[in-house]
Subunit: 300 residues, 2 copies
């Protein structure tokens, strides 16, 4: 059975693993990523870590999930907010040269989507739209087992989709952008404004308060549910995927919001789209598994 | 050079042609489609017409553009509003049997998008999102030279994307659906409500009035421009295409709205997406050319 090297490179930690083609992790190592010490340190530390993995030399390909959009033609990151110095660095090529194995990169949401499409909740379905609902909102589109990355690596960068233009301007995103209205950060912000700074720590607390009958928390939660329903209705019209796979921290409260969200989705979509499936993400390690699946998806 | 049969089957007329693989029409015939006389008449008339085309037997494949979403697995139409009796009829298979040539169907907007992606304004670009701005609003997504049709044949059925939920409910579409706000029909409806039934015949008149300085026409036109900008910003976030190709009757007024629409698009998108290209559709016969390109896109 073929094996691949998967890398989950974040601003804080880096994890590397040897993964079989059907998603079994055979060996895994973790280290700080040393993002503040500059690109060379980050890169060399990552390569050293890989070379400590038993069996790394027999791997058929290398994939890295990185925090930001990537250019698939140059194999480089297009923004390096979380990994200073990596913008336009020929990342994939440098890995290929350092390891002697064909290497690829893609952003972490695309990679998680690829994992769920090939190994997880969307396995076997032609079009999978993965959406991560967390402190932010992101996603990835996988068609026929391959990530669609887009001209700018922005496919699935759905944070800025406007779901109601009549909301407040919050930050650099557009007025009414879904990330400012229905992300964990947004829900928490809104409830704090109504109930006080100490009322909730995160979106999980908001859904808990709503469950307990707090009317203000319920109002904010219900607004977010409507906003998310509109996001999915929009994506269904634009792409018509076989399924949505939902991941991210907000899914801890899925029992609260999934069902009413899907009901609301049906209210605003054509009936032909009502049987589009909404799955909860299944994998515990989508980052590293999805990274390892990039070379598989490219025919290695 | 390979040749294909292209069919443009509408509710009123049917056109059939022999088309070379690079888009030259060698022969073409037209007839009423006889939609009101039932499926058998429509189908047999179309096959008879094809068999009158010189060289039809040497064609490597057949493609038909039809008015409505299609199931690519069964090769059938999923809705038959404009062609009664065709819902769930194994259309592609029936053509394959009648002609002895591999046959495919897809909806007319997808087919027009395929033509523009392979032969027209989007030629050579990996991801083309075609949008038709006409009495209605529709579209098609072409990735790596193949139409993405979607689970329900609804990819690109963008009419129902909500661009402002605070508008009036007009019809079966969702409140604030882009087709009810920025299509030719919508723009005309709004100006008639302000200036009287006889003030304008179609959207072209609205843009003409706006050009001449009519403030109310200008207000409606500008609202539509903002609405369309938001539609494109949404599609860019969901898919990140290399380009949008814009077709349909509204493009006769493109000189009025394209430039301000793109400016508005930039205001509400991440700067990385600002160089996404907006092209005017180039082909005079996208329906029949795109239909002929379906078998080419499937490897025939």
């Amino acid at each position: 059975m073929k094996k691949y090297i998967g890398i989950d490179l974040g601003g804080t930690n880096v994890r590397v693993a040897v993964v079989t083609e059907d998603g079994e992790i055979l060996a895994q190592l973790k280290s700080p990523s040393y993002a503040k010490e500059g690109r060379e340190k980050v890169f060399n530390n990552m390569i050293d870590l890989i070379k400590q993995l038993p069996g790394w030399q027999e791997c058929a390909g290398v994939g890295a999930g990185v925090p930001g959009p990537c250019n698939q033609v140059t194999g480089s990151m297009m923004l390096d907010t979380n990994l200073p110095g990596f913008k336009d660095f020929p990342f994939a090529q440098a890995m290929t040269e350092a390891l002697g194995i064909p290497s690829y990169i893609d952003n972490d949401a695309n990679v998680a989507g690829l994992a769920e499409a090939l190994l997880g909740a969307g396995k076997g379905l032609p079009i999978v739209y993965y959406v991560t609902l967390s402190t932010g909102i992101g996603g990835g589109l996988v068609i026929d087992g391959k990530c669609v990355s887009g001209k700018h690596g922005f496919t699935g960068e759905i944070a800025n989709i406007i779901i109601d233009r009549n909301r407040e301007k919050i930050n650099y995103l557009a007025k009414g952008a879904v990330e400012n209205e229905a992300s964990g950060t947004a829900i928490t912000r809104k409830v704090k404004a109504l109930l006080g700074e100490g009322a909730v720590r995160h979106a999980g607390d908001v859904f808990q308060l709503a469950t307990e009958g707090n009317e203000k928390a319920k109002m904010i939660a219900d607004q977010a549910i409507g906003d998310l329903a509109q996001l999915f209705a929009t994506l269904a019209a634009a792409v018509d995927p076989d399924c949505f796979v939902l991941g991210g921290g907000l899914m801890a409260s899925a029992d609260y919001f999934m069902e009413p969200m899907i009901e609301k989705y049906k209210e605003i979509t054509h009936e032909a789209l009502h049987d589009t499936q909404f799955f909860r993400a299944e994998l515990e390690e989508p980052g590293i598994l999805g990274a390892a699946m990039i070379p598989r998806s490219r025919g290695h």
